[in-house]
Every structure is written in C-alpha cells, then in structure tokens.
C-alpha cells in the first residue's frame, strides 16, 4: 500500500465534513462537522510529516489540536448562550446577531 492513501482518506473525510456543514441545521452537528474537517486536516499533516521525514507536520497538527480545543470551548459557549435566549440550537433561527 502506498502511504498516499492516507491523504485520499483525509480528503474524503474533509469533503464529508464540509458537506455536513452545508447540510445540517443543528448548530452542534455543524460544529461536529467542523471538528471532522479539522481532524482530516490533521491526518493529512501527519502523513506529510511522514512523507518528508521531519516532524514539522506533526508540530503543526499539534497546534491545530490546541486551536481546535479553544475553538470548541468558545463555540459551544456561544451555542449555549444562543440556546438560552432562543430555546433552539438551529442555525436557521439565528438570523441576527442581536439576541
């Protein structure tokens, strides 16, 4: 097996995640799709690291993980706040920034 298959898998997962963002209306599921895309990018970075024989790709994947963790914290806090004021987690309802 050629290790480039990992890149194809990453591309596939990223595409599925992007479709999920477009398709779903529940804000939490949209968020999960974004996580899926981030994970796919991480897999690609790890594979690049193996491809080039140095650890830079892994370092960048590590930073991606940290940023994703921070993003999840803030994003979920925003979803909770919106849910409190609108009693719905649907992205259709949140047409305005105004609460």
């Amino acid at each position: 097996m050629n290790p480039v298959n990992y890149l194809f898998l990453a591309a596939l997962l990223f595409t599925i995640g992007a479709s999920g963002v477009l398709l779903r209306r529940n804000a939490i599921v949209v968020f999960m799709s974004i996580e899926l895309m981030l994970n796919a990018a991480n897999l690609a970075l790890v594979t690049f690291s193996r491809m080039h024989g140095n650890l830079d790709g892994q370092i960048i994947a590590f930073f991606t993980m940290v940023v994703a963790a921070a993003e999840v914290v803030v994003g979920l806090a925003i979803i909770v706040t919106i849910f409190r004021s609108r009693h719905s987690a649907s992205v259709d309802d949140a047409g305005l920034m105004k609460l």
Binding site: P3, L9, A11, G17, L55, Q58, M65, V73, T81
Partner: protein, 308 residues
C-alpha cells in the same frame, strides 16, 4: 525501538490491512456524523472516527499525537460536546426537512465536486516518494517534537498559551449569567407563601401509597382523582405525568366487591359494585396493556354479576 516501528517509507501488509479496515470504519463514522438524525448518535459516530484517526497517527509514527488525539479529542472535546447536547436537550431530534429548496442536491453536488477536485489534486501531485520518519524519530518522537516546539516554534507556542487563556475567559464570560435581582432569603420566601395563602405546608409527595412510588405518578386525593400538585413542576410541564387513578380505583372497587362477596353482603352495596364494574370496563377498554389475569378476573366478575 526497531526501525519497523518508526513508520518507514514502505508499508507492511499489516498496515495495509489495518488501513483498509479502519479507513472504512472512519468513513462510515464520518457519514454517520453527518447523516444521523439524533445529535447524540452523531457525536458517538464522530468519537469512533476520532479513535480510528488516533490509530492512524500511531501507524504514521506520530506517537505523541496519537495519544493526544485520544486524550484531547475523544476525551475532552467529545465530552464537552455531549455535555452541551445534554444541556440543550438530547431528545430534540433535528428535523431533516429541508427549508431551502434543493439544498440536499446542491450539497451533494458541491461535496462531490470538491471531493473530486481534492482527490484529483492529490493524485496528480507526485507524492510517490516517501522518506519515512525513521531518522526523525530516532531520538524518540516526543523528544523530537519537544526539541522543535521549544526552539523553532517557541513563539507560536507562547501565542497558543495566550489563545488558551483567552478561550477560557471567553467561555466564562459567555456562559456566566448575571443575577439581576437579589436572591430571596428563606424568611422572605416563607412570608411570601403565607401572604399568598396557598400551600403553606410542604407540597405533598408523589406516588400512590403501597402501590406506586415513582415520581411521575401523581398522588390520589380521597375521592380517587389524581393531584397534579404532587408531581414535580418540570415533569408537569413536559407532560410526563403517569395517571394510575383509574387502575387504582378499579383495584379498590374489585377489593370491595371481593370483600362483599366473602362477607355475604350481596345486595347491600350494589351502587358501589356497579360503579366499580363501570370503572373496570373503562380500564379494560382504554388500557389494553393491563395484565391478562386481571382482565380475566374482571370478565369472571361480570359473568357472576350477570348470573345474579
């Protein structure tokens, strides 16, 4: 560590088998994340995909990232997701009815186009030569990562620290709700209750004595009607109140009838017996899930009454 463990340039048959099996699982998990109706199922599918990706990191020689993936993603991030799902309400299924006309087809088209572009790009990128991590991981994966993290990328690392602090503060600011009025003391609450003049004593407990003690079953008043007051306000609002008053009344009536028969008071209390028979008919009509034995008992009772 042997060189075979260090993600060499060529892959073994074992890795190929692992890739094809776990890759299928990962894609199925991703599809489940996107297509599952309930968001809890989506979250579980995503957790499965993340675990598979952790295995792939390990197979690719990223030992540290593989462990971090499991600890941070499937541990912390997915836990946070499930926590918020519980907060928002698990039972709320996402309606998959499309609000924008033709959205699904557009999404499929966009996804397909994007995927084809991406995969064609990778396919034509000439990435056939693989160096492998054998040399880079020679001194240990964690040591190698630490060396470049604290020398070459130290500035990015510090910025990341600032980002994490900001995120923690942001989460607290966003979810903190300011109390706009003073919290009432116990004395004030008691005085308010006296002033309103209703429910001075503590609220009655739910459940029917000696038969049901679940919190969603209202207690019965002396005349056999259920008292909504005994059930928690949240359950009342959700409509999750189970009413057993008719069954209880029917049981009581049957007991009275049997006692009456035993004591030989056949004609004395006909009104109560007839009322009980009516209630029993209602129960057997409305609730087909009452147990067979009792229904048979009721039929026998009715036959006996007809014979009279």
């Amino acid at each position: 560590m042997t060189t075979t463990l260090l993600a060499a340039a060529s892959t073994s048959t074992g890795e190929a088998v692992q890739f094809w099996i776990l890759g299928t699982v990962a894609v199925l998990g991703a599809l489940g994340t996107v297509l599952m109706k309930r968001s809890v199922h989506s979250a579980l599918c995503l957790a499965g995909t993340m675990i598979v990706l952790a295995v792939f990191y390990l197979a690719n020689g990223a030992y540290f990232l593989g462990i971090v993936q499991i600890v941070v993603y499937t541990g912390a991030v997915m836990m946070l997701f499930l926590f918020v799902l519980m907060l928002v309400g698990v039972t709320a299924a996402d309606s998959l009815k499309e609000t924008i006309k033709g959205q699904r087809w557009l999404v499929a088209l966009c996804g397909l186009g994007f995927g084809i572009l991406l995969i064609a790009g990778i396919g034509s990128a000439g990435v056939d030569t693989f160096v492998g991590l054998g040399e880079a991981n020679a001194g240990g994966n964690v040591q190698g990562l630490a060396r470049s993290l604290f020398t070459e990328y130290v500035f990015a690392f510090e910025i990341t620290g600032a980002l994490l602090v900001t995120a923690a503060v942001a989460a607290m600011v966003l979810t903190h709700r300011e109390r706009t009025e003073r919290r009432l003391t116990q004395r004030e609450l008691a005085e308010q209750r006296v002033r309103e003049g209703k429910h001075l004593p503590p609220l009655p407990a739910p459940g029917v004595y000696a038969r049901h003690n679940a919190v969603d079953i209202p207690g019965l008043l002396p005349d056999g009607t259920p008292s909504e007051l005994t059930v928690n306000a949240t359950l009342r609002e959700r409509g999750q109140v189970r009413d057993v008053s008719r069954e209880a009344l029917a049981d009581l009536a049957a007991l009275e009838r049997r006692t009456g028969e035993y004591l030989g008071r056949n004609g004395t209390d006909t009104r109560a017996v007839r009322g009980a028979a009516d209630v029993r008919d209602d129960v057997s009509d409305d609730a087909p899930d009452t147990d067979e034995g009792r229904a048979g008992d009721g039929d026998r009772d009715r036959d006996r009454e007809a014979a009279k």
